[in-house]
């Protein structure tokens, strides 16, 4: 029997088994679905069974690029202004502060760690350190959603965590996208290579102009199935264009998503279409992320351990600091940042995008760190959120309303 057939049989069999197992685990122990696909990818990949060869992984690079774009668009599609306006401002302030401080803290710690551990010049570790910072900022919404579903509520704590997760995603994607643009290597074919600033502009312009172009393209279309073709084309083109220019597809696609949901009358349908393909693409991404992983030839245990520790401390510290700064600490509680410790698809997407882009030993350390973090967080993130909601749920609402509208005590509509 050929390797190709074995590969497909194993993928299908493992997919079914993994799916059944994860359903049972999610029901029984509140474990978020995802890690099993990563594990499956590692088992199928060159490091264990070798059923997915490195060339196969390379051959599927366009699918991974598309998955990055799709994830970016999903993040962008959360930001519809009329809906954002209904959320108390204090929630955004808390979220932004938490995200920025987490990013700075983790990037700084990791720069020092990488420089010390691998005996490298500071300039050589700035890029991976910032990528690790971006990865650390990203928080998975899956645990929050699972808790929300299992507890049958979507109270203020869930809402604050959701806002923080969305802002975390924006900060992570923007940081990573701008980083790849600023440190862009020169293309061979142009007369004058674009400057770093121009690459940033190109990266943003692909997203914004793409969003406007696809807004024109979609027009008054409301039928979900026709939207699917147009959206798939738009995201494939945007992601392909970004990858072709050696930029991250995440940032332009996020901008496309944001532009479309804010300018199109079909924003509900657009989200619906994006959501329908999210899971399949995410799982494919996880499988190939697992297959692409290779244990680093350089010691990765220490940097990974430091990242996990730094992220935990930075998230908890930044969350606490942000809540104190904005005066909602009594409402949110000191440990509310624990709800943001979940790590998921976005972290993997950034890490894999960086790994495929860079392909160096350090990028593999970054990728390994993201994989380990997602594994661990899938196990406990939903349980942590549940305990948080039980402990503090409801307390934030009054405080948030008071801060947003001190005289009336009413929140935004």
């Amino acid at each position: 029997m050929s390797a190709g057939l074995v590969l497909i049989l194993v993928v299908v069999g493992a997919y079914v088994a993994a799916h059944l197992a994860s359903e049972w685990l999610a029901r029984r122990y509140l474990i978020v679905s995802g890690a099993e696909y990563l594990l499956l990818g590692i088992l199928l990949g060159p490091q264990v069974s070798g059923m997915i060869t490195p060339s196969t992984v390379g051959g599927f690079a366009p699918f991974m690029t598309l998955a990055f774009g799709w994830i970016g668009a999903l993040v962008g599609a959360q930001f519809r202004l009329p809906e954002l306006m209904r959320i108390p401002r204090v929630m955004y302030r808390v979220a932004w502060l938490e995200a920025v401080f987490s990013l700075a803290a983790v990037a700084g710690i990791m720069a020092a760690t990488l420089s010390w551990w691998f005996v490298l010049e500071p300039a050589a570790v700035v890029r991976p350190a910032i990528v690790l910072g971006a990865i650390a900022v990203a928080s998975a919404p899956a645990g929050i959603a699972l808790t929300s579903r299992s507890m049958g509520q979507s109270g203020p704590m869930i809402r604050q965590l959701s806002v923080a997760t969305a802002i975390d995603a924006v900060v992570a994607i923007t940081t990573f996208g701008v980083l790849l643009a600023v440190t862009h290597s020169e293309p061979l074919s142009t007369v004058r290579p674009p400057t770093a600033t121009e690459w940033v502009v190109v990266s943003i312009a692909v997203g914004l102009l793409g969003g406007i172009l696809f807004h024109l393209f979609l027009g008054p279309e409301r039928k979900v199935d026709r939207l699917f073709i147009a959206l798939a084309g738009a995201l494939i083109l945007t992601s392909g264009a970004a990858a072709y220019m050696r930029l991250s597809p995440l940032l332009p696609a996020m901008l496309v998503g944001a532009v479309l949901v804010n300018t199109s009358h079909s924003h509900v349908e657009i989200r619906q279409v994006l959501g329908k393909v999210e899971r399949p693409l995410y799982f494919v991404l996880l499988i190939f992320a697992g297959a692409a992983w290779q244990p680093s030839s350089r010691g990765w245990l220490v940097p990974v351990a430091v990242l996990l520790l730094a992220r935990t401390v930075a998230k908890l510290g930044a969350a606490r600091f942000a809540a104190r700064w904005t005066g909602v600490l009594p409402a949110l509680g000191a440990g509310w940042g624990m709800g943001l410790l979940g790590h998921g698809g976005l972290a993997i997407a950034i890490a894999l995008n960086y790994h495929l882009h860079e392909g160096s030993a350090l990028s593999n350390v970054v990728f390994t760190a993201a994989i380990v973090s997602v594994f661990l967080s899938d196990v406990f993130s939903a349980r942590v959120v549940r305990s948080l909601v039980r402990a503090y749920g409801g307390r934030v609402a009054g405080a948030a309303r008071r801060l947003a509208h001190p005289r009336t005590g009413q929140g935004a509509p």
């Binding site: 390379g58 598309l66 074919s189 199935d225 699917f228």
Partner: protein
């Protein structure tokens, strides 16, 4: 107008992007893929506005944007998208199989078989006669002994009779037609798909006696042909059974499953050396008729297939080499006319033999003119077996396919319109029957 502006903007965007990039990680394929979806889809909308089938728009869009005209998509870009075409073929075959109901096969199988066999025989004979008659005008046959000329005329005709399941399915999807003309055409096309593989293989085996292959890979044994067909039925049935089990015991992530299934079907058919289309067609038929949840899978498959279909037809258009086709048109147009007339006559005779009295008796032939992937595949085998004369005939066949690929959908749509089977939004004169089955994601591809 808006669509044309978008098309110009897309072209301009591609012109801006291309100098800034570098090849790697298949990024050009993704860029070409996205561009083709949007651009071909836009041309398809323009075609729909002038009452032409959208797939004609996709073809024309691919032709215009492809490497032989505007060059917005490079030859390398189209080459990199070959897996997308293969995936589309697999999805189309599965969907076509899932369209067939066991009850319908039982009730109308003999009727369809009579129509198909008569149409094939009449068309085959007419084309053999025509090509033999025109042999003086065809360079590689001009000086050949009569027996060899006849042998190559047989080979040519065995490929020229082929229909296109892909175009048929795509148009039924687009128009949501579900009446007797649609069902009869689909049935004949699917049956003919099996028959032409047998016909071509048998012809090639016979011709090898008169004109030994110039290439090395063309020896076709009876056992091999039987396995290709019979094995496809067995492998397809097993695959369909596995799909039914999945639907029963798991039934989740159907979009991902649909794409995996198509890849799996392609791979297993290739490994088992069985006919790909027939394997997936059988799988679709078995899955649909043995599972209560077949409709859900079909819908998921239709949804994931929609952009792939757009690209499939756009790529077909992009591969048409105008410069190569144009000089052959004086020869190809008479052949296309004779082929069309023979299909008309054969279908009418077959319908009379089978006692068919409905509108399909007069209109079904119009759905049988289209040609696409299967014919292209067989012509490649011919060129492989006979690199000299076969290669010339391949060029002639590709030109013929280009004509039929463009004219066929227009004729089929007209037949569906005349039969009153178009859904209202497709410009039907009257409401069409409920689109229970032939819907790709509820809308045209």
């Amino acid at each position: 107008m808006r669509r044309l502006v978008i098309l110009v903007l897309l072209l301009a965007a591609m012109r801006l992007i291309l100098p800034l990039g570098a090849e790697g990680q298949g990024s050009e394929a993704l860029l070409s893929f996205g561009f083709l979806i949007l651009a071909a889809y836009t041309v398809g909308e323009v075609a729909a506005a002038v009452r032409l089938p959208k797939i004609v728009g996709y073809l024309v869009g691919g032709l215009l944007l492809g490497p032989h005209v505007l060059g917005a998509i490079s030859a390398n870009g189209t080459e990199q998208l070959t897996p997308v075409s293969q995936l589309a073929v697999a999805l189309i075959a599965f969907l076509a199989g899932a369209e067939l109901r066991w009850g319908e096969v039982r009730d109308r199988g003999v009727t369809l078989l009579k129509m198909m066999s008569t149409e094939l025989v009449v068309t085959f004979v007419a084309l053999v006669g025509l090509l033999y008659g025109l042999r003086g005008l065809i360079p590689p046959l001009a000086g050949a002994p009569p027996v060899e000329a006849l042998a190559f005329a047989l080979l040519f005709a065995s490929i020229a009779v082929v229909h296109s399941p892909a175009v048929t399915m795509a148009l039924l999807t687009e128009t949501r037609a579900h009446g007797p003309v649609a069902r009869t055409t689909l049935g004949v096309v699917l049956l003919a798909d099996v028959a032409v593989v047998l016909l071509f293989s048998a012809t090639l085996a016979i011709v090898q006696g008169f004109a030994p292959p110039e290439g090395g890979s063309a020896v076709v044994g009876v056992g091999m042909v039987l396995w290709e067909i019979g094995g496809a039925l067995v492998v397809g049935a097993l695959l369909g059974g596995a799909v039914a089990l999945y639907l029963r015991y798991v039934g989740r992530e159907l979009i991902l499953f649909a794409v995996l299934l198509a890849f799996f079907g392609l791979e297993i058919a290739r490994l088992a050396h069985v006919e790909v289309l027939l394997t997936l067609l059988t799988a679709g038929f078995v899955a649909e008729n043995t599972s209560s949840r077949g409709d859900e899978l079909r819908h998921a498959m239709e949804r994931s297939a929609a952009p792939i279909f757009v690209v499939f037809f756009a790529l077909s258009g992009a591969k048409i080499d105008i410069a190569a086709v144009a000089p052959l048109l004086p020869l190809v147009i008479p052949i296309a006319l004779v082929r069309g007339s023979a299909i008309w006559m054969g279908t009418r005779l077959g319908a009379a033999w089978a006692g068919v009295a409905g509108p399909e008796r007069k209109l079904a032939w119009m759905g049988l003119v289209s040609q696409a992937g299967v014919a292209i595949g067989l012509s490649a085998i011919l060129a492989d077996a006979y690199p000299g004369r076969g290669a010339y005939l391949q060029g002639l066949l590709l030109a013929l396919i280009a004509v039929n690929e463009t004219v066929g959908p227009v004729l089929f749509r007209r037949a569906l319109s005349k039969g009153g089977e178009l859904a209202p939004e497709n410009g039907a004169p009257e409401p069409a029957p409920a689109p229970a089955a032939a819907v790709v994601a509820g809308e045209p591809v």
